[in-house]
Each structure stands twice: as structure tokens, then as C-alpha cells.
Symmetry: C2
Subunit: 228 residues, 2 copies
DNA sequence: CCGTTTTTTTGATCCGGATCAAAGAATTCC
DNA sequence: GGAATTCTTTGATCCGGATCAAAAAAACGG
């Protein structure tokens, strides 16, 4: 498919003149990635902006002993690794495809050139980074100040919201990944889901989650009510 | 003192034409804050950018039961609360003066207007936000993947670096605050400092820290060596 | 400078959640 | 569609670090 067409639909590039889009699309490279393939590693020298064009990508940190903390899971249309574009230096985390897909790459210099000429694009990028900062602040708050039950119930409520407030929805990724995203382990996640089921807040059937008592779940998320 | 002069020395506003600086300084408000005074609270509607002009300010999150996680400690010349400038909405955390000082405030609309006209300023802001994202990513990594001894030794080595690599330096803030910045408690911090002293890595005299075995401390920071 | 308040240290205990191990489900892939 | 791999659950145990309590040390204010 056509790169320029793809770029023109991204929120990030709204309002960018066609000629700039064309310039971008001519230097952009859209490469296929296989599920499990590393896209870059923490500390690698960074040369530009990446955008998921198909599939999904996880951005994560690893501990010396192999524990993983996922920072983001990016889907089609989402840019990642913006930081080194504006700061130079190297990638601050690892990126790996969790599904077979494609990743588009735009070299740093070209992008900066176009940003310098288009203040609107600069403001869009500022908004993107601001959004990431808010998400990171929430993650820090979760890790430091909240327990696993709080984080998980908030996550489930969030998924429900994404599904239009539906009482029934599918987990978007496998449970082990959710655990690493929430800063816990698969085992703990499984146990907490079990407790939520026992206390009648949810029903779990494989990847399908049914919220039975949204009120109670919200109370757990807000630490107003303990599980168990 | 003169606001325009102050602004003109900030890295953020380097290269901004005098006329723009003048415009900014005319709408900026520099107000005194007392030690312990709240500057804004999490969730407050945000109306502009803040910059510490004297003293120090802590940016932090609170848990329902009062535990505090410090996100940043900002000193003179450092901007804070940039996020809502580009995203709108409300402040994502609390800000409180930890020393008597002054805080300068620039209304959002004016700042945006000037950024739109000055791409260089936009790129500077992008670099500032990128730096914050790197710091947050490091904080998430610390909280999720590293223990208190790792975080504390890295923090001490960092302070030593700031002091030009000196083997002896002063803690810049009181120990309870360091604990909250590292995501732990005063008690735990005290115990870890005790162990580091026992094993001969450092000497502690009130706020004065002497690094006796930098090598060992670096190994603890990298989780290559356990304490105890 | 002395009494008061705030910080820091030390000790004892407790708890959430990680880890280890193994069984049970669900996917994947010829 | 059946064997193999990968995920998830469940059970038992362990450990880092929080919490509670109280003493000791510093910092502060009059």
C-alpha cells in the first residue's frame, strides 16, 4: 500500500502540506517484521522515528535477571521512539513485534527539517510527548502507590471503556503481557483474576471478560475496597 | 530582579528574539512561595507554564493513604508542568515548595502564540519533554525492576558525578525526601545506608557522604553484587 | 542557649507479591 | 487433527521492604 496515503491519515501529520507528505513518504522505509522480532534494543544508536504500520509492538525494559516491564504496546498508526529524535543519542528501551506486521521508519534529519518548517507539526509532536508523559506519570503512580488489584481493576475498566463501556469484552493481549504491562507476574495476575471472580465482580472465560459488578470493581481500583 | 533578564538566561529561551522575551516578561508573574506551600494540586485546572525562579519545588503523587512518590525536584531555572500547556486539561501531579523561594508563571495562550512563531523554541520544548520522558522511563525501570540498594547506590553515584566526581559530597535534600524520590521509606533508606557503611562502601556523617569504594557501589547499582 | 519540634535511626513484626514447581488448557504447526 | 509447544492456573514457600513503635539525634525558634 501507499506510504503517503498511510501517513496522511495519521493524526500526527494532519494539516501537513502534500508536498511535505510526499517528501516524507519518499524517504520513509516500511519494512515487514515477524512476530517476536526485535526492532531495536535499549541503548542502540537511534537514527529516526518509528511508526507501527501493521501489527503491534511492545516497548519494554529488561532487568539484569530477565524480568520485563512493558512501557507501551503500540498499534497501527502509533509512532514510537520519539525521544531520540529530539534529544539524539540512543533508544531508551527495547522494541519488539508481538505480532507479524510492518514498521515504518523516518530518518531523524529529514523529520527535523520538516518540523522546523511546520510549527503545527511541532505542536502535534509536543502533544504526543505530553500524552506519553501523562501515561508514564500514571505508570509510576501505579507501580509505587498502588497494589496489583487496584492496577488490574483499573485496567479492566479501561478496556471496557475502549469497548464503548461494554460489560463484556476481550482481552487485547495475552495475560502474560498484561502482567508485564502492569508490573507484576503472570501468576499474580491469575490469582487476582481468581479473587475478582470469586467475589462476583467479573467472570473470566479465556480472553473474554464480563464485568458483573462495575461499582465494586471501581471501588477496588480506587482502593476504597480490598479484595478478599 | 528583572524578569526579562532571568528568562533570557534560561536554556529554554536561548535564541528567542528580544521582543518575544520582552512580551513574555510582561505577562509573566513571579510570585513568592513559602516553604511547604502548595503551588498546585493534582487535578487542578492548569493555565500555563511554571518555572522555579528561586528555591526548590517537589513534584509528586499521593496515594489514598498518604504515601508520597516524588517525580521530580526542580531547582532555579527549571520549568515544570509543561504537559498541560500542550495538552490542555489539568495538572497531572502536585507541586509544593520545599524551600522558601519564587515561582514564575507564564499563561498558556501567550506561550503557545510565541512557540508557534518560533520553531526553535518548539524544538527546545521538544527536547525538554524528551528529557523528562527519559527520566520517567528510568524511574519506571527503577521501581519495577530494581531493589532499593540498586536505586540508592545509583543515586549516590549520580550525586557524586554532579559534584564533579568527588568522593565526598553533601546530600542535597533531607533523607526522607530522598526516600520518597527513590520510591521507598525513610526507614528502609536508613537501613540500606547502614549496610553500605558496614560493608565499607561509604561513610555517612549527617548529610555528608564519603564514597570509600566506588567500584563496589557501582556493582551494587548494576545488581552485580548484593548488599549483605 | 535551651526547650520544642522535626528527622533519623533502630528494633520487631507483618504482608504483598515474587519465585519455584508442576499440573492443566489452549494454541500452533506440520 | 494430533503432537508439540506455549500459556495459564494452582499450590507451597520465601523474601524485600512496609509498617508500627520508640529511642536517639538534629534542627529550629524564641
Amino acid at each position: 500500500m501507499n506510504i503517503q496515503g498511510f501517513l496522511s491519515h495519521l493524526p500526527l501529520f494532519q494539516g501537513l502540506p502534500d508536498e511535505e507528505l510526499k517528501a516524507l513518504s519518499e524517504i520513509a522505509v516500511d519494512r515487514p517484521v515477524k512476530a517476536g522480532e526485535m526492532i531495536f534494543s535499549d541503548g542502540d544508536r537511534a537514527a529516526g522515528l518509528n511508526i507501527v504500520s501493521a501489527g503491534r509492538v511492545k516497548i519494554f525494559k529488561l532487568s539484569p535477571n530477565g524480568k520485563e516491564q512493558i512501557l507501551h504496546i503500540m498499534g497501527p498508526g502509533e509512532p514510537f521512539a520519539e525521544v531520540p529524535v529530539f534529544q539524539g543519542g540512543n533508544y531508551p528501551a527495547n522494541a519488539q513485534a508481538i505480532e507479524t506486521g510492518r514498521v515504518l521508519f523516518i530518518p531523524r534529519d529529514e523529520l527535523l527539517k520538516i518540523i522546523r518548517k511546520n510549527p503545527a507539526l511541532a505542536l502535534d509532536m509536543l502533544a504526543v510527548l505530553s500524552k506519553r508523559l501523562r501515561e508514564f506519570a500514571a505508570t509510576i503512580e501505579n507501580l509505587s502507590l498502588r497494589g496489583v488489584p487496584e492496577r488490574l481493576s483499573a485496567y479492566l475498566l479501561h478496556l471496557s471503556d475502549l469497548a464503548g463501556g461494554a460489560g463484556e469484552f476481550e482481552l487485547d493481549i495475552k495475560k502474560g503481557l498484561i502482567a508485564n504491562l502492569l508490573g507484576t507476574t503472570g501468576e499474580s495476575l491469575s490469582r487476582v483474576l481468581g479473587k475478582m471472580t470469586q467475589s462476583g465482580m467479573i467472570r473470566v472465560g479465556g480472553k473474554k471478560i464480563t464485568i458483573l459488578d462495575r461499582e465494586a470493581l471501581a471501588d477496588v481500583a480506587a482502593a476504597k475496597q480490598a479484595l478478599d
